[in-house]
């Protein structure tokens, strides 16, 4: 077991760091830079605001998974985190626009900034999770 942990320690750390950065980037980017539309004149929020909150939560969950990969460093954790992250990436792609409808005009912040950002991040995170999953799986088979 000790041998197995030693073998996967470095890839786990690199994978964990990449995931950690992706999660932070997704959460912070969606919250502060590529955010949804602001408050209405009457003080209420549009549906896109709630899509933003869900994406930020997904980013934070991803960060937690990345920390598990960095500190626990086992093949099983890497596999589990990869699968969970892939699911989170799919949710990141689907939530703004498909699950939670966004605004009316393409020039509005949620469609012009948040949706493109979450689409790019979703694709990148999906590829990262696949890149982590396949080597971990093949090492187990060996």
């Amino acid at each position: 077991m000790a041998q197995s942990t030693k073998e996967t320690a470095t890839p786990n750390i690199i994978y964990g760091i990449v995931l950690l950065l992706s999660g932070i980037c997704l959460a912070a980017g969606t919250q502060f830079v590529f955010h949804a539309c602001g408050m209405h004149e009457d003080g209420s929020y549009g549906r896109c605001h709630y899509a933003q909150l869900v994406i930020v939560c997904i980013g934070l969950l991803m960060t937690a998974g990345a920390l598990c990969t960095i500190f626990l460093r086992t093949r099983e954790v890497m596999l589990a985190v990869s699968v969970i992250t892939a699911c989170e990436a799919v949710f990141t792609l689907l939530i703004p626009g498909t699950v939670i409808p966004l605004c009316m005009m393409a020039t509005m912040s949620c469609l012009a900034k948040m949706k493109p950002f979450t689409t790019v991040m979703g694709i990148v995170i999906l590829l990262v999770s696949i890149a982590g999953f396949i080597p971990a799986l093949s090492r187990k088979e060996n």
């Binding site: 209405h40 004149e41 549009g46 009316m104 005009m105 949620c110």
Partner: protein, 404 residues
């Protein structure tokens, strides 16, 4: 030949860090050319679209527009200040006092509060179907019939489709058609008849929401008068005549506004092109150095290959094959990323540059995509050509004796 291919792949996988770095450089090359070209061509298409869709020689707007807003914004964002002129001041445009007016049509701009979702107002443009010559030709592309009461045509940036219902100030309006993308403010506007606007204003006033219109209506006021000059007259003549004789309005030549936009576009395009060139030069220099260092490092290996019978040509081909594989492996994802990012962020680019932006059509995008991959693959391969040429001329005996 298959032996060379498998040897190339083995060599590349033996040094994953170096291979990854070279792939990333190739990716940067294709990303920069794809992204840069897409932005520049998008800006040019946007300007062309703006020129085509404007369709009028002269725009006559209330005088306060000149003092309260930047005239460039008028053409880029529409009359978003919502200024109105009383129709009595426009009589001279119709009674023959101004010579040289060929076609003339009025438009009335009206802003709504939110519709359905979020806080941004939609711009409603009311036009007269009898006289209109700027909007109707474009509406006719997607909708051949006359617009009925409470029927609207929406710009391409509005997420509504034919048959959908949008509610403005309690009035349900049916979407009759959706216009093609123009890359201009026309994409975020809603087009309808004067009668529908009158109905909306009536409802807005009954709900005490008439702030945007200032108690005006299309029957008494206009936001903009569009004029095409008759044959035998110059635009300048008519323009000056209007500015001298018609009070409370200012006539603007559409072409002069477009030339301002074109100037801004040329500056932005220049900066983007310069950045792409800088990225290419730096990446190519790094690639040339990387390949030269890599070949120097593997001199003995190549000498042994020569000793066991490989020709100079075979050695060159081996190195070029490695460079080609690495460049192609980086170019494809780089071009895809450039396409993805620019396509997705086109709205943000348009907004931040404050210039019309229209992505090329799908065949145009496909051509650009393939061209970017080919260009960066060739450039990456050429970066290795010097190193390949040098290694093919080595003297194996000299190299193998070097350490002894």
């Amino acid at each position: 030949m298959p032996a060379i291919e498998s040897f190339t792949l083995k060599q590349l996988s033996r040094r994953p860090a170096r291979t990854t770095a070279l792939i990333l450089l190739a990716m940067l090359l294709s990303l920069s050319i794809m992204g840069g070209t897409l932005i520049v061509s998008g800006l040019k298409s946007g300007l062309d679209s703006l020129e085509t869709r404007l369709g009028a020689d002269i725009m006559v707007v209330p005088y306060e527009v000149r003092t309260k807003t930047n005239l460039n914004n008028l053409i880029l964002q529409g009359n978003n200040g919502y200024y109105y002129v009383d129709r009595q001041y426009l009589n001279k445009l119709y009674d023959g006092s101004i010579a040289g007016i060929g076609q003339i049509s009025e438009q009335y701009y009206f802003a709504t509060a939110s519709s359905g979702c979020c806080s941004a107002a939609l711009q409603l443009i009311a036009f007269d179907p009898e006289t209109d010559f700027t909007i109707k030709p474009w509406i006719n592309v997607s909708y051949k019939k006359e617009l009925q009461d409470c029927e609207i045509v929406v710009g391409n940036d509005i997420n509504a489709f034919p048959g959908d219902t949008l509610v403005f100030y309690g009035v349900e309006c049916t979407v009759a058609a959706r216009m093609d993308k123009t890359g201009t403010y026309l994409d975020t506007s809603v087009y309808t008849s004067h009668a529908t606007i009158e109905k909306l204003i009536e409802n807005a006033q009954s709900k005490q929401l008439a702030a945007y219109t200032g108690n005006t209506s299309p029957s008494t006021h206009a936001s903009c008068v569009l004029i095409n000059v008759a044959e035998g007259y110059t635009v300048e003549e008519v323009l000056n005549d209007i500015n001298i004789h018609v009070k409370k309005v200012v006539a603007i030549q559409s072409k002069s506004l477009i030339s301002n936009v074109a100037e801004g576009l040329s500056n932005v395009s220049g900066i983007i092109s310069a950045l792409v060139v800088v990225v290419w030069i730096l990446s190519l220099i790094i690639m040339v150095i990387s390949f030269t260092m890599m070949i120097n490092e593997r001199k003995k290996e190549f000498a042994v290959i020569r000793v066991i019978g490989a020709s100079e040509k075979m050695l060159t081909r081996m190195v070029m094959k490695e460079a080609f594989t690495v460049s192609a492996a980086g170019s494809l994802p780089g071009a895809a990323l450039g396409l993805l990012v620019v396509s997705l962020f086109s709205g943000m680019i348009e907004d931040s540059l404050n210039l019309p932006f229209l992505l090329p059509s799908v065949p145009g995008l496909a051509i650009l995509f393939v061209a970017a991959i080919i260009a960066s693959t060739i450039a990456g391969s050429l970066a290795a050509s010097y190193a390949a040429l040098r290694i093919s001329r080595i003297d194996p005996a000299l190299i193998l004796r070097e350490d002894n």
